[in-house]
């Protein structure tokens, strides 16, 4: 359970991360908006509550591993890592620029603290399964956890289900996957493009322990990762229902915002909305 104090602190951090996402994207002039904003709460809980990592000693062998399968939402990963202390927040504005450590899709050759390079969809879960199998071979299960973040759109990829079967077969209790169930992909709504429902049943059928949560409720996110710790015979799948573009009303629930950045005037509007918490407070930055 999060204390109220901790929950409020996480919510503030998530808001800061959302502001940075808008600033990064407008500076880059390209990139994805909806997914990163939608996953800001999950990434915040992971980096500021759940994961056992040390930004100053990022090679610590016993650290928890975070695999971002849908690499295109990397602005939220980069922002969370910067706020957690992996690199200076000022570096965020180099996103997608020549020579930047923050490549358009994550590349660990440029930023070694990343666990994987990713972009092509559907292969992150396989890599996380491999990490979990190796972890168990070393008898280190329980010491470190493997967390894999995925999009719902990438569940169209057949490889995802190859990995799902193997994880179920192996009963990988050190593995937790989270699907960003925001219902959108590039061409439209997931249920129009390629229906995924009944999604929870699919994962249960492959012997996963399945949880469904509100992906914007800090308490629920933290509790889901805690619950996974107590599941001993199965990998855990957290289906996190999120609102794409969350935090900026004009961007929310619109698949048009999947793969484009805000223009400068749209960014100004978005930042004002985030800084005033949707008009609830007077912004101190104005």
């Amino acid at each position: 359970m999060l204390t109220d104090e901790k929950r409020i602190e996480l919510e503030k951090t998530a808001n800061n991360i959302r502001e940075s996402i808008i600033e990064m994207l407008v500076a880059a002039g390209s990139g994805h908006t909806a997914g990163p904003l939608g996953m800001a709460d999950v990434l915040t809980v992971l980096y500021f509550h759940t994961l056992r990592q040390d930004p100053k000693n990022w090679e610590w062998p016993d650290r928890d591993r975070l695999v971002l399968s849908n690499g295109h939402i990397c602005p939220v990963l980069y922002a969370a890592m910067a706020y957690a202390g992996y690199f200076p927040i000022s570096e965020l504005k180099t996103l997608r620029k020549f020579g930047s450590r923050l490549q358009g899709h994550p590349h660990r050759e440029f930023l070694p603290a990343l666990e994987t390079s990713s972009g092509p969809l559907g292969s992150g879960l396989s890599q996380a399964v491999g990490m979990a199998i190796a972890d168990r071979m070393d008898d280190a299960a329980g010491k470190r956890r493997i967390v894999c973040l995925m999009s719902d759109g990438e569940l169209d990829e057949g490889q995802t289900w190859e990995a799902a079967m193997l994880a179920g077969k192996q009963g990988l209790r050190n593995l937790v996957a989270l699907v960003d169930r925001n219902n959108i992909q590039i061409d439209g709504f997931t249920e129009d493009i390629m229906p995924l429902e009944p999604l929870a049943d699919k994962w249960r059928a492959w012997n996963w322990h399945v949880l469904e949560i509100d992906g914007h409720n800090m308490q629920a996110i933290a509790a889901a990762f805690d619950e996974a710790l107590s599941i001993y015979e199965h990998p855990t799948m957290i289906i996190a229902h999120t609102i794409p573009g969350k935090g900026v009303k004009e961007f929310e629930r619109d698949y048009e915002w999947h793969g484009k950045p805000p223009k400068p005037d749209e960014a100004k509007m978005a930042l004002r909305e985030l800084r005033t918490l949707g008009g609830k407070i007077e912004s101190e930055h104005q």
Binding site: T116, S123, S126, V129, G130, M137, Q159, E162, A163, M165
Partner: protein
Amino acid sequence: MLNPELRLNPKLFDADVEKTAIRAGFGQGLVEAGTQNANVVVLCGDLTESAHALEFKEKFPDRFVELGVAEQNMASVASGMAAMGKIPFITSYAMFSPGRNWEQIRTTIAYNDRHVKIGGSHAGVSVGPDGGTHQATEDIALTRVIPRMIVICPCDATEACKATVASVSTETPVYLRLARNDTPIMTTPDTPFAIGKSQRVWISEKPRVGIIACGALLYEALLAARALEAEHIDCEVLNLSTIKPIDEEAIVKLARATGRLVTVEEHQIFAGMGSAVAECVVKHSPVPMEFVGVHDRFGQSGTPEQLIEHYCMGHDSIAKAVHTVLRR
């Protein structure tokens, strides 16, 4: 004559020369590698016996993972295991790995800089009766174009074993191209082997043509060189088992000494070993070349011997290519 420095099989040209499948040498190499290094793990996709992962599985059951018929998953799972310090070998048929899972190998292994070793069995038309779907003739092209990837096509089971063991100590992904069929043992445990180093298997005082071969067809190249010697056409035969990184020095030296080259591979002539040699020769010392290999066609069912003959890759075809290049 056969190069005495290489301590080759003395019975190489005997009618009863020992024959073993190159993939079996890989299986033996896996066990040796696993014995030497506790981090070596083997992954298999429902082809454990055929891809020769069985010996490893029996000796190290806790370091063996069966993934079912799922080669794309296998490549990326191996990447994840490598991220945790393991040295994974993925085993299947070349048509499926690196065939079907090429993008996973490219992105999750090579781009990700994970040192996974890929054993692709059943390469070439000599797979035989299974037919064209199972005969990989494009895999050298697919792998050598990937940055960081080492590509090795051993000539026999003995060399395959050494290449498998040697691949463990490379800090890079490696593709080991293996064949299904029993083929002559040309090298011995005493024959030197190093990744990236070719071998002058057949030498002559004043060679007029250089024959560069990889895989089991090296034997056909030797038969051709011996027959040509009787016709007073002296050749040198190079075993280019490492296709990438290519042994530039040896190839350029051979091109300069002979002025004419013939390449021999059980692979499409486009973008394979012969093309790699041509890239090297054109840059440093252009000479006329002939390419023995599969000429832009798919394979089919038949005995290995029939297919090698049909696709013009046997010793007669190699000798013919030597005559052709001499006329140019």
